[in-house]
């Protein structure tokens, strides 16, 4: 068995459900034979990866789907040995450079070089280049991006890069200008509703419109999340009901409770408890940016209008620091302390105003 997300993932450019015009443009791109480096960007759950897989299939045919996992060992200049997990077929190799942490620069260079140096044995009917897919380019260090810039030009004859990122803001301009940008926007609510209904139909279920709307609302136009929620609704209760509440992931519920703890009392002791909860979240590999975002959203929604600007400013300040420093908990805790401070002052002032 597999999840609906995986089972109903479109496999070729022709059957994509939305942004059809873009799909046909990509198809044309492949037809013309030559192919630039691509930078695919868009929010999480918009279908970037699906689109790239379809593109690869269009390029190389169905054999590109025969994947294998390999662990490539790379020696850094300082002599440290690294094992990096890659997923590859005969025609492409995919790697998440953020796995290598601070050594992403060597990993990227080494992999591109390896892929570029092996020529295609049988050029008849096949492309004369391989594709290197780099995911999560936003977390690629600036160092690595600069290294990539040079490598991209040098091996352009035998190797094309497809970079996948959530936003272009963290990609340096030099890379941006070397790639064809492909923006995959999140599907609209109506598109998600129709996809959900189509999937449910194939599963032999009927999805009430009310529930579908609720799911779209909660998933924030993240198609992956919407499908997962829909499936969990099915597990919860079949046939699907109008009144059903789609469930949120456990960690989001936990984060919401954490926000409530912060609002409840503002003292060093309470901060200690909040710290414990933050550690708990971090232990489950929830990225710190998502914690910041979720926490801020919850806190701001309970704040007075006058406080919102100040709180958001603090959050932005400390979130930036997370990227500069390397121990996220320091900054997360500083933000919570700052918020508690602001909030407490506001509450005290408003109590005074009452009299």
């Amino acid at each position: 068995m597999s999840l609906w997300v995986d089972r109903y993932r479109p496999k070729s450019l022709g059957v994509l459900d939305y942004h059809k015009e873009q799909a046909s443009q990509l198809k044309n791109l492949v037809k013309q034979g030559d192919f630039p480096h691509l930078l695919v960007y868009g929010p999480s759950g918009a279908g970037k990866k699906t689109r790239v897989t379809c593109l690869l299939r269009e390029l190389y045919g169905p054999s590109v789907e025969k994947l294998r996992m390999e662990s490539v060992s790379i020696t850094t200049p300082s002599g440290k040995k690294l094992d990096v997990k890659t997923i590859s077929s005969n025609y492409h190799i995919e790697v998440n450079p953020s796995d290598a942490g601070i050594y992403d620069r060597c990993v990227v260079m080494e992999l591109v070089k390896n892929a570029a140096q092996t020529h295609q044995l049988d050029p008849s009917g096949q492309r004369d280049f391989k594709v290197v897919v780099l995911t999560e380019v936003d977390s690629l260090s600036v160092d690595a991006q600069h290294a990539l810039r040079r490598t991209m030009e040098k091996y352009v004859a035998t190797c094309r890069l497809i970079l996948i990122s959530n936003s272009t803001s963290r990609v340096i301009p030099a890379i941006r200008s070397r790639c064809l940008g492909v923006r995959v926007a999140a599907p609209t609510s109506d598109q998600i509703v129709s996809i959900l209904q189509m999937v449910c139909k194939k599963e032999g279920l009927t999805l009430p419109l009310e529930l579908a709307k609720k799911i779209v609302d909660k998933s924030e136009r993240n198609l992956r999340l919407a499908l997962l929620m829909c499936e969990s609704c099915k597990v919860q209760e079949t046939p699907l009901q109008d009144k059903q509440e789609p469930i949120l992931p456990q960690w989001q519920v936990f984060l919401r409770e954490t926000a409530r703890t912060i609002m409840h009392e503002q003292s060093p002791k309470q901060l200690m408890e909040v710290r414990g909860r933050l550690y708990e979240l971090l232990c489950h590999n929830i990225p710190i940016q998502m914690i910041f975002k979720g926490l801020l959203k919850e806190l701001v929604s309970n704040c007075d209008m006058r406080l919102k600007a100040a709180v958001v400013e603090e959050a932005a300040f400390f979130e930036h620091r997370v990227h500069q420093g390397n121990k996220g908990i320091f900054h997360l805790e500083a933000f919570v302390a700052k918020f508690m401070c602001i909030y407490k002052k506001f509450m005290e002032d408003s109590v005074i105003d009452m009299f």
């Binding site: 953020s98 919860q236 456990q250 060093p268 489950h284 990225p287 805790e333 302390a337």
Partner: protein
Amino acid sequence: MQLSENWAEPYVLDELAVDQRKVGEISSWLSNHRNTCGILLLTGPTGCGKTAAVKCTARSLGFEVREWVTPLDRNFESGADIGFFQNQTEKFEDYLYSCSRYADLFVKSSSTSSLLLVEDYPNIFLLKPEIFHDVLGKYCRTSRAPIVFICSDVADHGLNIERELFPLDVQGSLGITHIVLNPVTRTRMLQALKRMGSYLQSMSSGYKLPAPDILNEICDSANGDVRYAMLSLQMKPQEDVVSLFDFAGKKGLGKKRPNSLKLTREEETVSACGKDDRVSILHAVGRVLYPKWYEGALKPNSSSTKRKRKGDEKHLDATVPDARWVHDPNTIVDAYCSTASSFLLFIQENYLKTFSTIESVAAASQFLSSADVMMTGVGVEASQEMSLNVAVRGVMVNNKVPNRIFNQVRGSRHWELLKTQTELTTLTDSLFPLYPVSHTVLLTDVIPFMSHSCTNSLSNGKFDCS
């Protein structure tokens, strides 16, 4: 003035600075093991009189002490090999065997019982403790004389000989008696210093016994280390030459303030004694978390009410111009700038409990956050030191009224966190090979729903993703 080599070593039991009860334990053990096999392990901090205690009691009981000295393998003076080579283990075994059976030819002694003393361990044993345990086992079977092993306590676990060579199971199986000596107490140290002082006086008439307060200071700075106290007593310049060496005093002249007189005095004496007064990391963390201020920094208006409280619980204000910390943050930073990152983690883990208001926490945590950013500063010379300075001062300044309750200093969860994170990543890697999304998405989106949708497939191990 000519002093004999071991002029300060106590000769009779009464002169020992070690606790009488412990001496009693040692001597009773020795008399129980005359001419039989037995292993005694003696541990304690450096300079607490371990060797002296053994030698003294052995002398009083009529034992002949035969000490192992790890020999050099080569004759370095002539530069030539000494013919044949015998490894250290064999030499050590030889020593154990022969010394426990045969009396020394070169010592005329009426007593026949000998006592083996090992303070110097051949390197091979430190590398491979198993060999040492074998040798000990053999010794237990063959020997006819007691042996004493002496180990100094070391704070660093990596250097702790005792833990390596005498693990608890070995101690149990070989019947090793373990006696732990404590640092020398103040009164005993003073007695010992006086004894040595009078000895020095008898040797040269020009020597003046230092004033009692100087003796007290030596005791303070020695931290229970008798050997160190003895050295500083000997090195203590005489009153009339003090002015020549007293750099600390000169430095203090320019900025001497009436309220800090006591401090300059303290600084002088400590620097004159020259003891490395580096404190343990936990101690230093404590100094940062519970900052202490001098009286002069008292808030003028609140001083009358606050003085009723205990001495160290005063409300202090850093804005008062004369405010001074008892423990200079510079000293703390200097001592720990080589391990700045772990010190920072310690502070961060523990600072919350000592703060009483959320406002001060917010201020301090912002400094800690800055410190973390600075810690990773690339290409900036001394960024570690700066970062630690920011953290230490940020916490100390903002903690106006520390909560003076006992809190155990805890290690940071940072490393633990990293470990769990990597473990989780490898786990997801092995559970979902070839899954087309990244770890973060997998963990934040897919798995939480998967636990709802298909619990059974997760528990079955491999998840089919095709």
